[in-house]
Symmetry: C2
Subunit: 501 residues, 2 copies
């Protein structure tokens, strides 16, 4: 019952997005000196109106995110902001909501505590995490602790929406009705502090269906540039916006236009936030997968815990990587965890086909011929009572993929059952919405073998009593890694492998 209530309290991803977006539109990003006096700073800003929320963080210098209660305050603040005075430098006079706080004269008294309390925007290093997990008393606690440390904070999430909103200002110059939404791990519930920021530009509101067309007589139409295909339009939009970001966008560096990819994108680093950004356009299927992952993550807390743990474990062993290649992606890995949870008995989460069957007429969504329909009302979803512990599930996950018939079978969260492989690829994971596609078609046999071997070793390790029980539980001295901590140590796992042979 508790789980059910929790689910009913959940907001849909749309609701969350809309709220965050609206907050972001009322916010500014301010670069300030690390010794800025917080009280003076707030007093100075409050002249423009009430502040709902603010926080400081560090990223190549100190920054503050400030959310005003009203948009008028923002306008008033921007109205008063100055153009930098440059005696020997030139600059591009593009005005945005990224500002710098200056302090003329030394009249300002530095903070007693010498600076603000900063909100961390990156995770702790893996070694520190291992130390921290070693001090936990159960594997269950280790798993939830890992999630706590890694998951996006409230502040980080706000910062992500703010960066989208700043970028939207650039795109909205030409497409006033456009939106820029984050998708992927920034919002699907599985994002780790420091993960990239995937965004998509949606100008669909205006390009599409036209309600205003009259039945007869005269009417006026906008003249618009023709393009050979929707893809060409997308490339054109991204190309120009990429140039704008490159030439005008303050803090945006290393802009790359990757327009010939299957999904054309503009990649750049946003220095003030520290985010690596990928901007795509009209990428609505990806938004649907994001919603789906979010929904699964909200259905049962074990989903997110397990995904975080498996992602972290995979990253520690180089199963996944931040650079593209023949390895498994986080997205594939997440789908594998979801599939595993569908295969428990009773299943912990329903199949996608089941979620589709629960859908309302208004949930119907067909994108480029793909049926992306699934239920949006979480309370309609009935879960079966599976009470397996996280420890058990982690063990079973490794066991499950140690013995999975990868050579013959495909993983499908739509059916929740392995299917015969439709094509020869070492790893076949059916794309949930574009069902004829293989999400992991980049993965080669070597990488799959490494994954399977690591599953086997990790499964074996978790069954050893010197691994799965706490050791040296003295808080004073350095504790010896155990349980999940052991699983995250490459040397440890490799060592075991050596011994096994």
């Amino acid at each position: 019952v508790a789980v059910k209530e929790e689910r009913e309290g959940c907001k849909s991803l749309y609701g969350v997005q809309a709220e965050r977006q609206e907050q972001a539109e009322r916010s500014v990003l301010i670069s300030c000196h690390s010794r800025t006096n917080e009280k003076n700073f707030l007093k100075y800003l409050s002249r423009h109106g009430d502040i709902n929320k603010y926080f400081f963080y560090e990223s190549y210098g100190m920054y503050a995110v400030v959310e005003f209660a009203n948009r008028e305050s923002l306008a008033s603040l921007l109205e008063e902001a100055a153009i930098p005075s440059t005696s020997h430098e030139s600059m591009v006079p593009f005005k945005s909501r990224l500002l710098t706080l200056r302090n003329l004269g030394s009249a300002d008294v530095p903070n007693q505590q010498s600076g603000q309390q900063c909100q961390p925007q990156t995770t702790i290093p893996i070694n520190e995490l291992i130390q921290r997990l070693a001090r936990e008393e159960t594997i269950e606690q280790q798993i939830t602790s890992l999630t706590d440390v890694y998951q996006l904070t409230e502040e980080n999430s706000r910062l992500r929406f703010l960066v989208c909103s700043l970028l939207k200002d650039i795109a909205a110059a030409y497409f006033p009705e456009c939106t820029i939404n984050p998708f992927g791990s920034s919002v699907n519930g599985f994002g780790k502090l420091g993960c990239d920021l995937d965004m998509f530009l949606d100008v669909d509101d205006i390009s599409g269906r036209n309600a205003k067309m009259p039945k007869s007589g005269l009417w006026l139409e906008y003249q618009m540039k023709r393009a050979s295909s929707e893809r060409a339009v997308t490339q054109s939009l991204l190309s120009v916006i990429g140039d704008c970001v490159d030439q005008f966008g303050p803090g945006c560096v290393g802009v790359q236009k990757i327009l010939n990819a299957r999904c054309p994108l503009v990649r750049f680093a946003h220095q003030p936030s520290g985010f690596q950004c990928d901007l795509t356009a009209n990428n609505r299927v990806a938004m649907k997968s994001t919603e789906l992952l979010y929904l699964y993550g909200e259905l049962d807390p074990r989903v997110r815990h397990l995904v975080f743990t498996v992602r972290c474990w995979a990253r520690a062993h180089g199963i996944t990587s931040s650079i593209p290649g023949a390895w498994i992606t986080n997205f594939s890995l997440t789908v594998m965890v979801l599939f595993f949870l569908q295969r428990r008995s009773p299943p912990i989460i329903p199949t996608l086909d089941h979620l589709r069957d629960l859908a309302d007429p208004r949930d119907k969504s067909v994108i480029e011929g793909n049926d992306c329909t699934f239920v949006s009302d979480f309370s309609k979803i009935q879960l079966l009572s599976n009470t397996e512990t996280l420890e058990k599930l982690l063990c079973e996950f490794f066991e499950f993929y140690s013995t999975f018939a990868f050579n013959r079978m495909s993983i499908s969260i739509r059916k929740g059952k392995e299917q015969n492989k439709p094509e020869v690829a070492p790893l076949h994971i059916q794309n949930p919405f574009e069902t004829s596609l293989n999400v992991s078609k980049n993965v080669n046999a070597t990488q799959l073998d490494r994954f399977v071997a690591l599953c086997q070793e990790s499964s074996w390790l978790l069954q050893q009593s010197d691994t799965n029980t706490p050791r040296g539980g003295n808080a004073e001295k350095a504790t010896t890694p155990w349980g999940l901590a052991t699983l995250l140590m490459p040397s440890q796992v490799a060592g075991i492998k050596g011994r096994k042979k």
Copy 2:
């Protein structure tokens, strides 16, 4: 006295520009079917408010320029305009004030006169001009008639400002305080129907001098991208705006970015207006030369008549060309005419140094270290009473340059006297504001020789009685060219040359 009054009635170029700009902001450009019923068209548009002025013209199809009395009407019209419905085509959803009129159903009754009266936006061909001039009774009349036929019309001038305004909408997306002004022959009074549209983007209002900087305490500054120089900023702005025009701008084709030129520019053709457009940025000296030429043109009607005639004559003989090369430019030619008029006795127009001496303190203008100051109040300028006829002046012009000591002397409208040449170049015309530069340094000896030879031949021709008196003055049958008409016929002039040798 009449001349003086005319001068006092003159608006400064700034005044003219401001008025035209404001009209343009209230206007739309509409592509319509050539059989559109004018009455229905106006009735349809008037629903949005009063129309101040409208006209039709043809340019790869029929277009209308419509100026509303109020901006609100424009907003209302755009609000109602539809997105084109495309079943098998894709397009870039950028909304501008370039629209298409559609007519659903054939209920519309075509105009009785089968279509609108169209305002011409190009000149008549040279052969027609020659025929027309042949029918005039004096050379004086031929010269004024040429100006009448060639000069920009009220409608063409409106269209030029409208194209600037449409382009400004694109640039203002990023630089809300920017302006785009026409310069060169579109506004200096010497433009011929069909001449190119030179524009410059000015974002200087916001990049420069900052009034808001406080004396002490905290303040906020916009973060802006740094660039290595003002030139780099200009290149950056033009590059992005060039891309926008290329990818989004309806009707804009053949976009070329010529960013490494001395004066970086974006060149494109605006199909709906038929204009070849050159967009430069922060090119304020060129605006000053435009103002100066405008002023000279307004001082005495003979200035414009002579410039039009000489430009037309030069073009007919390939002395000038629409493509860049070693030939004399229209700008150089204009300066040569002005110089000639300063050398009459008494001088018809004052020197630039004199215009500078008449300047008010508020006329002071120094651009990049160059003194561009000259008087803005036309009524302060006292002219001497020179009463030479246009015929006489044209003759004397050819004579003057037939014998000018190009090998030793430089032409300077600043001093109104030939100066010793500061450098070896076949033709040396001092740049009026950047006085160390030679406006005609591109001109080679061959081109200068051709110009001198043509001046000699034209001067000789004008002194022959079979050239300078009307022939076959029967309006019914084709008249034989005479006077100015003869001077415009390449075969004629070349023929004479043959005979002379």
